[in-house]
């Protein structure tokens, strides 16, 4: 029987085999070979693609290079979303490796946030963690931590150090013994078809009668079309970290075990493949 702690490791060490190809209109001095990389699901594109950038810059002239950005089948990829979320949302039912196109020109100002340095990624990551704790603990746990603990969360993510990260993160996953869970669950639900980037609302993990709310309860409340049936069939998949958890799973358990390092549950609603 799998231990709950094994789930934490499986989530942390998930990888997506990816093939990076330079956009054909970029001007190069020699032909650019594609670059293959296993991307960590829990990290961010701009944090883990230094080697990709170096590889393509070798064949380009300096003046042709400005801020790198990534695109999949015409869709600019938001670096501030975790890699696993981007894959689940856009490419989960396509063949591996995931084919991403690399750009160095014509940055899409209307679609993507700028990412001029690692500090920007750290600031974004920490802002997500703080928001998650505002929901879970009225910010009490994150505010009680020292600056060095905040740094350890970031360094753990940046250096892929599971133990270092969880030494601090476990405190963000605790709750007072008199409660049976967090105050509210930090979650975001994504659908590629909507203009709205995600749905986020206040949702309690425990019902007034004390029962544990489930993933199904969350969806019914916040995004009922995600689980409604069309002609008796479920036309969509509800995906977290590349799997479809049972709708009966308690949302408190999902929040503790399947959140991303930013402490949010990022849930994708995607069309169910018809084959």
């Amino acid at each position: 029987m799998t231990d709950d702690k094994d789930v934490l490791r499986d989530v942390w060490f998930g990888r997506i085999p990816t093939c990076f190809t330079l956009y054909q209109d970029e001007i190069t001095e020699r032909e650019a070979e594609p670059y293959y990389l296993l991307l960590p699901r829990i990290s961010y594109l701009t944090l883990v693609t230094d080697k990709v950038k170096k590889h393509f810059q070798k064949v380009m002239r300096q003046e042709e290079v400005s801020e790198i950005w990534f695109e999949y089948e015409g869709t600019p990829l938001k670096w501030h979303y975790p890699i696993g979320l981007l894959f689940d949302l856009h490419a989960s039912n396509t063949a591996l490796p995931w084919s991403i196109t690399v750009h160095f020109k014509n940055f899409p100002e209307k679609d993507l946030l700028h990412c001029h340095s690692k500090d920007v990624i750290e600031a974004h990551f920490m802002a997500c963690i703080k928001e998650a704790d505002a929901l879970k603990h009225k910010s009490q746990v994150i505010n009680e931590m020292q600056k060095k603990d905040h740094k350890q969360l970031w360094m753990g993510l940046q250096n892929d150090k599971f133990e270092q990260f969880w030494a601090i993160n476990r405190k963000l996953m605790e709750y007072p013994p008199e409660d049976n869970g967090f105050r509210y669950i930090p979650f975001r639900i994504y659908q590629a078809t909507t203009e709205r980037p995600f749905i986020q609302k206040l949702f309690r993990p425990i019902a007034s009668g004390g029962q544990l709310h489930t993933l199904g309860d969350l969806l019914k409340d916040v995004c009922p079309t995600a689980i409604s049936l069309e002609d008796g069939e479920q036309k969509t998949q509800v995906m977290i970290h590349g799997i479809e958890p049972m709708l009966e799973t308690p949302i408190q358990w999902l929040s503790e075990h399947m959140s991303y390092p930013d402490n949010f549950l990022h849930i994708s609603i995607i069309p169910r493949p018809t084959d």
Partner: protein
């Protein structure tokens, strides 16, 4: 609207109250022609306050204006960041680069239970302003504070309803501002329009000013639901 935690007063705004304050705010804006409107999202029924205006970034005199009458020239010559141009005046300025189109949105954060100010700016040719260019327009008295830790105060983020990049005045500082302003007698809070109080405090940080007439906004009816 307020609750006490360990003796410290922290002011939270519930979403219903946010919407009511916005409704009253827009009504007054319409009366004085200040340009704010409420936009409702089609899918979930939530929404936000929105205002667009044009500002001249510097005091360069465009050649065209020398031909216009004195009143207009004087107004544009001494245009401060706080003086908005209306659309027709903006189009008359010689160099398109100097006129900046600012868009301000006020959204509600359910995570922090406060309003949040989102904004973006671009030149008339569509080129967006960078964060550095925006910071350059920040009021002098706020610049020192921002220099200590800019990443905590104004950052670029994804607009939660439109999905596009905006600059955001960080919400977890809101309680600092508001608590300082609202630290007065409890009984006044019932009749305060939180949005007017908040926006008049944080708006100037990014060049957004409220005409004084908002302060005369009729207090909320005592029959409205109170926290």
């Amino acid at each position: 609207v307020s609750c006490s935690m360990a003796g410290e007063e922290v002011f939270f705004l519930e979403e219903k109250r946010f919407k009511q304050c916005c409704e009253d705010f827009v009504k007054h804006s319409q009366q004085i022609g200040d340009g704010w409107e409420w936009r409702t999202s089609k899918d979930l029924g939530d929404g936000y306050l929105s205002k667009t205006h044009f500002q001249v970034r510097n005091r360069h005199i465009p050649p065209d204006l020398k031909e216009k009458n004195n009143d207009n020239t004087e107004q544009t010559l001494f245009a401060h960041l706080e003086e908005p141009l209306d659309d027709s005046q903006a189009a008359g300025v010689g160099s398109a680069e100097e006129v900046v189109r600012y868009e301000y949105h006020v959204l509600y954060s359910s995570s922090y239970q406060v309003p949040v100010l989102y904004f973006r700016a671009c030149f008339l040719d569509g080129r967006p302003l960078t964060l550095d260019e925006i910071w350059g327009n920040v009021h002098a008295s706020y610049q020192a504070r921002l220099q200590e830790g800019p990443w905590d105060t104004i950052t670029q983020q994804e607009h939660p309803i439109l999905g596009q990049p905006f600059f955001v005045l960080h919400p977890c500082r809101t309680n600092e501002f508001i608590s300082a302003v609202l630290s007065g007698s409890q009984k006044h809070h019932r009749h305060t329009n939180y949005i007017i109080l908040w926006l008049s405090t944080v708006g100037p940080v990014v060049g957004l000013n409220l005409p004084l007439s908002y302060a005369k906004l009729a207090p909320e009816q005592s029959t409205s639901t109170d926290m």
